[in-house]
Amino acid sequence: MQSKEHSRWINIGFQVLGIIAALGFTTIILLITGAPPLQAFQQMIFGIAGSMNNFSNVLVAWIPLLIVTAGLLVTFAAGLWNIGIEGQIILGAIFCTGVLRALEHSTWSAGIIIFLGILAGILGGALWALLVGLLKTFGGVNEIFGGLGMDFIASVMILWLIYGPWRRPGVASLSGTAIFPERLSLPTFSGVQISPWSLVFGVITIVLIYFLLRGTYIGLKMKAIGKNIRAAFMLGVPTWQYMLLSFVVCGIFAGLAGALQVVGVYHRLLPSITNGYGFLGLLVAMLINFQAIWVAPIALFYAAINVGGIQLPIVLKVDSNLSGVIQGMLVFFVLLTDGFRQHFLKNR
């Protein structure tokens, strides 16, 4: 027992080391760009927790990241790299926008229109993911390449819609389609941006995924496929069917995230509607070593870094992409120190 306790401290030590290394590296980059590092970090912290509004912005970023990462855990469980996640979020947003546009002037109640919009978004994400899955199972196209291709198609599609058929009357611009009427937005807490409905969706997602992967036959079969597809097949698991299923499940959540971006955050379709949450989700999933229990806190942390960075260009004239640097460095250094740790423990 004593040695177990001992190695736990070693583990924590290495993780802290990873975080310090990431921050150190970011500091170096700040110094190179000529920005005062301390002030930059201070600004980021202010951006996160400086006011109720700032914190609600963190939550606004947290929900889609949480949902997307949770979805990705399903494809990762089946041993699949769903790089197509960005495209799936985009399709979710497009489908949702489509329904909202079609029903905007109908006499139906706003609640039903929003509900249908979200449902359509889920459908869009699931379809786009299914395509990647079909390409893999029947076309022999590796899901990484297929997903990347579908990402490109999706991002071209969204631009075409925004500049073409769905352009704002008069001006077609990067600022997206015309804003939907107030009634087609998810209701928010008073004075801040975050909607209780988004929170509910986020919580439901993470609970569903946690139990799917932990206590169900479906999750077990997916894990078996991910760890050894040949043996899983020999043990009677219908492998390609479950691989498709895992894509669809992930697509459902990606689509949900995309739809929530439309009805809950931007109230229109934007070229950058995903905010890169798909790729960020991949990073978070790796950082937490695919453990569902860690999705919520680490996604919150990442959302906070994202939002914290927004202050930087205004105050310090530093590009807000610094957040991306920190996020990337964190994953990199945590994985790296974990590698060192295993090496260290093995050689002892």
Binding site: G215, L220, K223, N228, A231, A232, L235
Partner: protein
């Protein structure tokens, strides 16, 4: 080179693989290491060859203490290990594979290396084309390639871990003569095995391990019974053959044609009856696997029909065959049989056919514990399968197959298992036969085929003999058929 291991300890989690082992290997000798599965043989050899590091203990080479951290370290000291599964590069050419691990500059002098390769290979009577691709070689040839490579890299101590599993009888002969040549040249040969006859035929001295400890060192002439009782701590009794009267047809092949990219089998007409055991003999790669795959729906015939209990299985998949009561036990346990990273109880949940959404964990553990007891698997419900020893993995795969199978198809059911585990596995299989399951199995061990089969099919490069009745067949007859002789008489 004289190799001395002193007080070697190694544990994996709570499992002790080596408990204070002391052994000395002299140069110019072939030293056998004998022990049942999980006795700690492989672990000890992996420590000597740098794959693992001992928790405690010392290694001396020619009375010099050395520290071996990696296989590359071991190689610089002149220790080379031939692994149970060849560690080579199937998509590469033989010659490139041969040069792997050699020290040298950036550029390769292929023609010179080729000359060395051919000369060495001739010396031992090997026949490998250096321009061939490794994946076209048989297991035996890959082993020969690996031996040549290790010697070229300067191995002075050669460790062979169960080298005779999966190679043909003539290849075994060549291997043994090679090892004797090497010993006569003053090299130290360490031969790890659980097969008594081989150890007896080859070794100058045998160390017996049991449960991670050295239980005895024996010099020739070897007494098999003594070795067995050392290995197991008690004498092992074989079961007597019981005559089973076959029942109804469970599987029928009607004019079936099979083929893969290098082999064709034409016009198979064959019936398998309830409760009988069919042994498939032949050199590896003669078509046995094609045949067995077809019986399981893993390979679709290019012509003809397969019937399971009189139902035609047209365009059916392996999953359909499974549902019809066909079980398949692949040879590669960790590649095809079990899922590393999942626990035993998760494996039983995976196959329990339960259609509900949630797994009842308590019940899963109960079922698992029951099977563990029934099949004498040394492991717990929460043990991950990769932590089990080979014999226990095999028992686990067998336990995962449903009880009420109509036919059970097995690739090398006891490959790599010791005598005790093998007898145990066959006891389980025979009790399934008594309940009506037909067993069809591939084995390269003629003794096993003759001991357990009711009828035997011999395969020779895509030809299949007529079914031979085991009671009227001798080892010599089988051996000749396997080698391609006397085929006229079997049609």
């Amino acid at each position: 080179m004289k190799v001395e291991l002193r007080d070697i300890h190694k544990s994996f989690g709570t499992v002790y693989a080596n408990k204070g082992l002391n052994l000395t290997f002299d140069s110019g000798k072939i030293q056998g290491i004998l022990g049942e599965n999980g006795a700690g043989k492989s672990t000890l050899m992996k420590i000597l060859s740098g794959f693992y590091q001992a928790d405690r203990g010392e290694i001396f080479l020619n009375d010099q203490k050395v520290v071996i951290l990696t296989p590359a370290d071991a190689m610089t000291y002149g220790i080379g290990m031939l692994h149970q599964d060849p560690l080579d590069f199937p998509p590469m050419q033989v010659l490139d594979n041969f040069m792997m691990g050699a020290k040298g500059g950036i550029f390769l002098d292929r023609s010179q290396v080729k000359r060395i390769f051919l000369r060495q290979s001739k010396e031992f009577g090997f026949d490998i084309d250096p321009d061939n691709y490794v994946d076209t070689l048989t297991v035996g040839e890959r082993q020969q390639l690996e031996i040549l490579r290790l010697l070229w890299l300067g191995a002075d101590v050669l460790i062979l871990d169960e080298p005779t599993t999966g190679i043909s009888a003539p290849q075994k002969k060549i291997l043994f003569s090679t090892l004797k040549i090497l010993a006569s040249e003053g090299k130290t040969v360490i031969f790890v095995s659980h097969k008594l006859e081989e150890v007896g035929e080859l070794c100058d001295r045998v160390a017996v391990l049991r449960a991670g400890e050295l239980v005895g060192e024996v010099d020739p002439p070897f007494d098999n019974e003594k070795l067995i009782s050392l290995m197991f701590g008690k004498p092992v009794l074989k079961d007597q053959r019981k005559k089973i009267t076959p029942g109804q047809t469970v599987l029928e092949m009607h004019d079936v044609n099979l083929e893969d990219y290098r082999l064709q089998i034409r016009h198979i007409n064959f019936k398998v009856f309830e409760g009988e055991v069919i042994g498939l003999a032949g050199m590896e790669g003669s078509g046995q696997v094609l045949f067995l795959h077809a019986c399981a729906g893993l390979l679709r015939p290019v012509g003809g029909e397969i019937y399971l209990k009189n139902e035609a299985m047209v365009n059916k998949t392996y999953i359909d065959y499974r549902q019809k009561g066909v079980g398949y036990l692949p040879a590669a346990r960790m590649e095809e049989g079990l899922v590393p990273g999942l626990t035993l109880s998760e494996h039983f949940s995976l196959v329990d056919g339960n259609r509900s959404l949630f797994i009842d964990e308590r019940q899963a553990v109960n079922t698992c514990n029951q099977r563990i007891k029934e099949y004498d698997i040394r492991g717990r419900a929460s043990t991950k399968v990769e932590m089990l020893s080979g014999g226990n993995q095999q028992r686990a795969i067998l336990a995962l197959l449903y009880d009420s199978l109509s036919s059970l198809l097995l690739e090398h059911p006891t490959r790599g298992l010791d005598v005790g585990s093998s007898i145990d596995i066959w006891r389980k299989l025979k009790s399934r036969c008594a309940h009506g399951t037909a067993v069809i199995f591939i084995s390269s061990d003629l003794e096993e085929i003759l001991t357990y089969s009711d009828r035997i099919l011999v395969f020779f490069s895509g030809q299949i003999s007529k079914p031979l009745d085991v009671t009227t067949t001798t080892v010599e007859e089988l051996g000749e058929l396997i080698g391609g002789k006397n085929w006229e008489s079997t049609r």
